[in-house]
Symmetry: D3
Subunit: 159 residues, 6 copies
């Protein structure tokens, strides 16, 4: 009997019921960075990676990945995405590719996961484009920078 209870209580996974909520404009901004070796950083900067243009490929992959969020994250809702943008910039000092995404929806639930997933897929794509050069690439600091809209208060990450 203990096991049956276990199944009901512990193995739970519930999609939040958003049916009573009113659609409003919601935004989310997310961040992530990909740390690379000095040698690899120069190659990305000079667009000398054999597999192709790292930042453009990662940008497009990130947008497409963000649109797949509800397919990838089990309890995410399949909301309409009004906008999803990604910018990748090179941080010379840290030898990193910095990724910022910005997502918008006019929906009943927020768009944080879409922004975060877009960053993660863009970062993984940077890894894939460059792994022949450097296997010690590290993806870090994927986090929500801010969100607006929705019932819960607007949020901005403290520095």
């Amino acid at each position: 009997m203990k096991n049956l209870t276990h199944v009901d209580n512990d193995g739970k996974a519930n999609m939040v019921d958003v049916s009573g909520k009113t659609p409003n404009m919601r935004t989310a901004k997310a961040f992530g960075e990909v740390f690379v070796s000095g040698e690899l950083f120069e190659k990305i900067k000079n667009n000398k990676i054999e597999k192709g243009d790292v930042l453009t490929t990662a940008k497009i992959a990130g947008i497409q990945g963000g649109k797949k969020t509800s397919e990838l994250i089990p309890l995410c809702h399949n909301i309409f995405i009004s906008k999803l943008d990604i910018n990748l910039t090179l941080n010379e000092k840290n030898k990193s590719v910095e990724i910022v995404s910005y997502a918008k929806t006019n929906s009943v639930t927020g768009i944080e996961m879409e922004a975060l997933t877009a960053v993660a897929i863009a970062a993984l794509t940077v890894y894939d484009m460059c792994k022949a050069v450097d296997k010690s690439i590290r993806i870090s600091n994927i986090k929500l920078l801010s969100k607006t809209g929705g019932k819960s208060r607007d949020y901005t990450l403290e520095k």
Copy 2:
């Protein structure tokens, strides 16, 4: 004419030709961690997250996400995955969820991206399950721990 050249030279993206390679056993082990607040850590540990069982949901999402790698990463090959496992453990000291994935293939190209993608999707799922409690969750240190098989030397991340 400059622009045409630009298009050919810079906007490139090439899938590596693996047709001449011999299949052999290849493995990859990847890592990532999700840093949470002390309060959230206790809730995960005690399985008190309202949305459901965080670690199990993340594990299954990670396996399914890893199987989608060639769909998510533009230049990845659609290799056969012989095994893909994910383990999530709670690191009490760091207040983090540590994720380790292990992937195996008998194929002509390696399985690093599958291992890394599985970790990233599992980490994003942890975020999604817990974001109602803590929005400052941070996903970090997604990296390859080791790989074996293939033409290039076996690789183990230096500590």
Copy 3:
């Protein structure tokens, strides 16, 4: 000429035009059951299946499968799903896993197929988790228990 006519008349497949309909709250509840051997039933109940936790894996697979309904069923609309839940319980007397799903949408067309697809994918996942133990598993009685909302009358299955 006969064949041309054939093509127009018999080989038809039309997506219903829902553009003139008003969105309203719609729900659907579906059912299905998986009949197993006595030996397998005990293993599921005691969580002794080597491949993993049957009921939790099936639950998550069912939710994810339900979200894929419009991709799987050719003439289904890609509606927004407000909620999709699945519960699996063990029926000791029948030696079966009973699956009930509940889906909700605020949309112009109903959500019966999402509820039914979720049940079917959860049931198939039970099969997959357990097939090493028992190949004679049988999935039966997938049916709509009730629906509400929409132009057609609310529906409850007669016992």
Copy 4:
């Protein structure tokens, strides 16, 4: 500490490691049936369902659904499918649509889930095509008829 253990032991889900297995020819045959009202049965038989040709649409949906098995069932391997066929026939006596699928692969693991998933998606498509006429449709007896190939013995369902 109890909870940590719980997470490791109960929330498990492992993809079977098939890397050491030798590919050989494997087949699977699956069955399912869709029970409908007498009125609906006549409409299907006379191809008078407004939404379109029920059996052809279901057949194509089933083939496409079977190809999605590894995406739908969390722990399934993404094997190469050599053949996947579905036949739907009308059983006048039972007022049912009988579905038989047949799948083949030359791979390291079996193809039962592909055959079963194809049947389930075809059956759900029959439901979708006909639900405007009859909501009490019932999908039953989805089961494996036989399998050949692989390390475990060939299997044929006893009548």
Copy 5:
């Protein structure tokens, strides 16, 4: 530095922000044709292609493909599709299969790409069904016939 600039300026890809737009009824009609040999034309007309019923399979594939538009075209929005129909007819004089699609949405952005993608996937399916007979099949004149709704003027292709 030139390269960094390049990355920012040229490698751009932006999803249009549709968050401020008001939903209204939008339609799109698209066209395409598949030119085949005289011998193949007769086989399609008489439904004698071994692989199956060409026009029905292509119709269903086209509808399903159109529903995948936002997954296939990087900067497309995942709009709700109210209706998506495809008709294939045989043009005896031109020895071609003519494909017309019609799509409808009540959304903030138009549905041209869904109509065009549906035509393209239906045309590719005709190719696939018939390629054993004739490899010189040619898909041509995929174009928008008309669109209505939205901020920009209604559009009808000039003959």
Copy 6:
């Protein structure tokens, strides 16, 4: 009874059984072109399309689309793709974007559909990127240039 026969004979769709075939190296080269207005041609050439870099976005979309072939075309097999490349060049004289794809597999069945699908998705992406400027864009001449490998003779399109 006529209708039953109809269903069996006409509504057929069979995946070719490739289980007895021996894997060998197969290639396919496909072509397509997108005709645009003179004004639009200049904008593409000078990379002045507001939505982003047309040719690079189309190239990446084409590669990703080609990898989805077995999901889009109902009776295609899910073969392993060893290589899939796409090149887009501007034809000044014809005011067109010319697309050539090249695909390779070491498999039991050919890779023509992957090459053709990649071209079609790249062409549709060109349309999407540019449709705000010119709605009369036309996609034409999607065809197989050549194929090698497999049981049937190598094929080269006659000029």
